[in-house]
Amino acid sequence: MIEIANLNPGLVLILGALAVPLLPQAIRRLYVLALPVAGFALVHQLAPGTLIAVEVFGVTLEPLAVDRLSLVWGYIFNIAAFLALLFAWHERDTMQQFSALIYAGAAISAVFAGDLITLFVFWELTAISSVFLIWAARNEAAFRCGMRYLIIQVLSGVILLAGTLVWYADTGSIDFTHIGIDSFAGQLIFIAFGIKCAFPLLHNWLQDAYPQATVTGTVVLSAFTTKLAVYALARGFAGTEILIYIGATMTAFPIFYAVIENDLRRVLAYSLNNQLGFMVVGIGIGTELALNGTAAHAFSHILYKALLFMSMGAVLFRTGTCKGSDLGGLYKSMPWTTGFCIIGAASISAFPLFSGFVSKSMILTAVAEEHRWFVWGTLLFASAGVFHHSGIKIPYFAFFAHDSGYRVKEAPWNMLLAMALTAFLCVFIGVYPTALYDILPYAVDYKPYTSYHVIQQLQLLMFSALAFTVLMLSKIYPPELKSTNLDTDWFYRVAGPAVIGRLMQAISVTGTSVEKFAARRVEQLIATIHHYHGPEGYLAKTLHLSSMVFWVVAALAFVLALEFFGR
């Protein structure tokens, strides 16, 4: 029998969530926080190598498979769930607490899935549960956006299932181990993971959906879906060359959008995409250092990204807007939020003593060790760029810049506490990286704090800051404008419907003319028949008796003539 200690830790959150709607508000708040704590404890006692296998219809399912890779994600997903739920303590919307728990639980369960079918089940559950965090905004735009999000997420699951079935037919196994892109099945699974990982051109669901979710929903969303995909790629496709180029592209192109985007939560969504790129590059490199870097970066990324989304969420909660063009000067009324946002900004920018520094540098070093100068140059550019838009732009336009005149309350205590804890973890990892390095998949032989690394990183960042300052003072920097920037979603939101609309119109025009033509023909036919057989028609005429007799006699005479001459 399966003991509680051998339960997939994600099930604690999923099953626990079922009781949420039944509990009174006061108890529910504590209860939802207790669940990820229990989940964390359960992850903590799991030993690498633990495997639970169940035979179902002749196929071996592995609902629990533990190794050092999955444990990293098991830890951080529970931490992220706890922090996000604490941030949402004030939230009275039971639906959000319920779906957040199911969503987090599904992501954790997927991480510990030992086979592709179990993975698929929880993969789809993350899609279905998370869409409610978007719909919970309860407006028309969020509803439509949620539908787009759901279609794309479910599509990823369907492709994963198709890939799994082909994989099973080819290999006779559904074990979730290294897959590779050599087979058709592998390519299908790769695309399924790629959609959730927001690969270039498959990415736009992320920037579309995350800024539409609720204040607290975005914090939850930012942690799980994409990092689950990173985990799945690391397990199935480590060392796949093409991932290096996909990842490098991901680090670079979203930062251009981030510079001109006005909605600050969307800026963060673009920079989330950019950070995923670093992890994807690490997976593509596939060395122990690179995979350690990916795991470490996923861990610290979840924290600082949540922190940044929390600070923007607090701003949205108090002011009702998250647009750079409307904000500014908020440090006066929200000093604590400002401080926490700056810590998140420093972490994502990889300042020494902050979490991003000790994790991202592993990936960059792994790339440099492979002597891939172009990829390395791209990542370095993206590192400078991320400081530019997430490190400076976000805090600057929200809290400083021109005073927008907002005089609001500081964020509620629960938001501040959640931000404080997250900020503490960001700094703790930066100051004491051993704590993170100890849980990584492979033994770590890497020292982030060397004089050359610290100085070079500071040079890169401070001169990026200088560039920002120069551009700002010379008024070259593009101002925050109320605007929409076209991205790939244009193809399915405008071009696709337009093409289909035109097509439908063409079909209907053609159909109408075909119908008209046929109708005219039928009318003509009826007219012809009417002409000959109608009341006035020649063939319908009644003939005179004498002419009848004449014709009968004529016919008889004809027959007689034939008889006579025929002999």
């Binding site: 005089r407 990183q457 040079q459 401070m462």
Partner: protein, 91 residues
Amino acid sequence: MSEHQGQTSGTRKYWLDDPENVKKIVRALIAICVLLFIADGFYEKHSHFGIENLFGFYAFYGFIMCVGLVLAAKVMRVLLMRDEDYYDRDR
């Protein structure tokens, strides 16, 4: 923490409200950059690529790439920017 609530404009003068202090920050940033640039001569480099040995490579790279990023993004605006309600019009 919420002493300004309800006021339309803060009567309290903040340190950053004074343009002189903003200038001080800019000067401090320039000073830090100069120091970091000079520091390039005083540590042992562990480079993987030849270009890293260029004096102040990381400083130049950070500055030039960021300026390039912003200029490129400005060009992108010309092509990609639409009204805020672009997607909401034909509901």
